[in-house]
């Protein structure tokens, strides 16, 4: 499940990962593509990686986090959110990798990276897109503790 949309303004890539998300390997490949596309890498790159916590909100040890999505809609909607953020901040490139399925504590759930000509747009776009996907992309989390799964509604505060 990989996808890339060539835009006049920005290069957008969204990937839903069913098996594993290795942020540094994903970033390395993205940078290689960027370097090919732009000659030299843009001056500013801002990245966020979210990982599964070891405990739930009540301090109980977490066995797994489960991420459900809406096949078809989730990836297309993430692409729309990325395009919209990229355009409003005039950045060069955005990449989003998001896990679905069962994820162990410490493993990466989400990677958002933004390359831009200046640090402000890179940071603002990365931050805005992360909030957008947390609140507006069709994902649902279920925490598994002691063999019992509990659906989580909403996100931790910023």
């Amino acid at each position: 499940m990989t996808g890339a949309i060539a835009k006049p303004g920005a290069w957008i890539q969204v990937v839903l990962e069913t098996e594993s998300l290795r942020p540094l390997i994903a970033l390395e490949r993205w940078q290689q593509h960027l370097a090919l596309q732009y000659g030299t890498l843009p001056a500013a790159e801002c990245t966020f990686v979210g990982r599964v916590r070891g405990t739930n909100a009540h301090g109980k040890a977490l066995e797994h986090l489960e991420l459900e999505h809406y096949p078809g809609m989730t990836k297309a909607h993430l692409e729309q959110l990325a395009i919209s953020s990229a355009e409003s901040h005039a950045v060069r490139a955005v990449v989003v990798h998001h896990r679905v399925g069962l994820i162990a504590p410490g493993e990466a759930i989400v990677l958002v990276a933004v390359a831009a000509d200046r640090r402000g747009p890179a940071q603002r776009c990365c931050q805005e897109l992360l909030e957008a996907l947390k609140h507006n992309a069709p994902f649902w989390k279920r925490e598994w503790c002691g063999g019992v799964g509990t659906w989580i509604e909403g996100n931790t505060p910023w």
Binding site: Y70, H77, V110, L133, K134, P138, F139, R142, E153
Partner: protein
């Protein structure tokens, strides 16, 4: 339910996460009346997904785009009811 298995005559309804588990199903074909303009809010009531009107926390998608509870539905539409989102 008559023609409810005929996609051209009805809607595809999809439920996700806690809504799916509470209802005990994830996808269903549902007939749409010929002469009325049905909405997701009507559909919610018809499906018996909860007591009373649809909670405002429920998100709706029609044909895989977010939509309002009063958007008119048409035959062949895919309608999804989604509990509050928790991504990233």
């Amino acid at each position: 339910m008559g023609n409810s298995e005929d996609l051209s005559e009805g809607l595809t309804v999809r439920l996700f996460a806690s809504l799916r588990e509470q209802a005990g199903w994830s996808e269903r074909i549902w007939p749409i009346p010929c002469d009325s303009s049905s909405t997701p809010a009507d559909l919610w009531s018809s499906l018996g997904l909860g007591q009373g009107p649809m909670p405002s926390s429920i998100r709706i998608a029609v044909n895989q785009h977010f939509a309002a509870a009063n958007q008119p539905l048409h035959r062949g539409d895919e309608v999804a009811f989604m509990p509050p989102i928790s991504g990233g």
